[in-house]
Amino acid sequence: MEQLQQAHSESFIWEEFRNGSEAAYTTIYNRYAANLFNYGYKLAHDRDLTKDCIQEVFVNLWRSRENLSPTSSIKYYLFKALRHEIMRKLNPRNFTSDLPDNYHFEVVLSAEQLLILDQTTAVKHERLLQELEKLPARQKEAIFLRFYDNLSFEEIAAIMQIEQRSVYKMIYKAIENLQNNLVNIKVLLVLLFISEARSA
């Protein structure tokens, strides 16, 4: 119920914004600027470029407010727009078809977490970190969106412009790589489809 209420309040803000409310626009910025930067920087690796792109996203958002369709996830909408903008800037000639050559997604595990861990978990943590660095950029991006921003598989697919099926595979792959003691691999893949289909 709480989640539903949250969803309602999001679409309420969005509706207000589409009707031209400055207050709603401010609310959207205040709510998501930090999240957007955190995500965008991992793609762009450049603070100024990331900020420019966020600015572009918000100015475009305002300009096109009357033509926007309803959404219940503003965050998803903004993430998608920001990624598009960053990709366009990184690869100005041909941004639609392919990822730019310099595409990499930089996720680093936070170090402060280590302080509270005991020796064995610290070792485990270190290994997780190494494994994470080794993952392909796309996998890193997918798990970041899933675990850090809790976006749905469907949303991640739309943001990264890939098939939903590939997102399942990618995230699953990433976990498989990260979690050494994985079991029931094939079962999990099947179950993932079922659980996602059920919750859709």
Partner: protein, 339 residues
Amino acid sequence: MEYLDFTAEDFILDSSFIKWVRNPDSKTKAFWESWQTAHPEKAEEISQAQSFLQRLQFRQDALSAQEQAQLWQQITIARQQSTVTRQLPTPAPYRVWLQAAAVALLLLTSWLIYAVNQPPEMVHVQTAFGQTKSINLPDGSVVKLNANSKLSYPKEWQHRDKREVWLQGEAYFVIFKKPGAPFITHTLLINIEVTGTQYNLKARRNAAQVVLTEGRIKVANAAVPTDTSRLRLLPGDLAEIKAGETVIRKQTVDPALYASWHQQKYVFYKTPLAEIARMLEDTYGLSVQFKDPALAQRQLTGELPGLNLNILLAAIAESMDIKVTKTRDTVFLASNTPE
């Protein structure tokens, strides 16, 4: 699939589970804590999944508060520049109809999509210009909705521990006291949390303002609804914030000046005519024009009847000794003395 059949990996990928581990709210916390107690046989899987997610802490690439504010200023400037260059030509009359039809169709479609996507069934009560309404909520609370305002609330309050409503415009709230069941009013800029009390809340013109008449309330910035950003109000306190500001301002006032409208009267104390004009525009949908700009600064003190617009305008004319004329949708204010 039931959680009972979940492996550690399934938990890792479950949205609700992720939320509980990474940033729990009261709902997920209550659910997973009781689920855990009820199913000790899944303790192993749960703790594996939990520890995996806890270790997976990404580095936060943060925007400093100053950078965020600067970026906002740049956006504001860029946005204004883009609007200036996009002045639309005045449409021909037939085009207006065409546009109106297109908009109507668009609105209908949007509404359909919107309605279909809405999970909880909501009740929406709306008032026209010049109209007020008294609403009895399912919990016994009463909301007096001022003109040109809208209140939304869930048809059924299944969650007895939380009462929530959404407001656009202005309303006077008389909240039925229910210990342990906070009453939360959402506006775009602020959220108000109370247990049982009376207050006037106004969310118009990209600003939000609340005045407390009785009891105690907590006001939170809707953009950062954390515990530390909450402001506690006592009777007679006024709190307000404008779009773009980050801090809620507080001052002490006479609540009657803000909340008398629901008793069909207006109380003014050294209130500039400009402010009264804004009130007339917001509640009656009128455009107010000052024939003599200096008039806008003149102040009015006194209690005027608010039952009927014409009587109110006549009372303003008399107490200020000015000339008030009204056409269908415009009010003209002019000095009485010939220049």
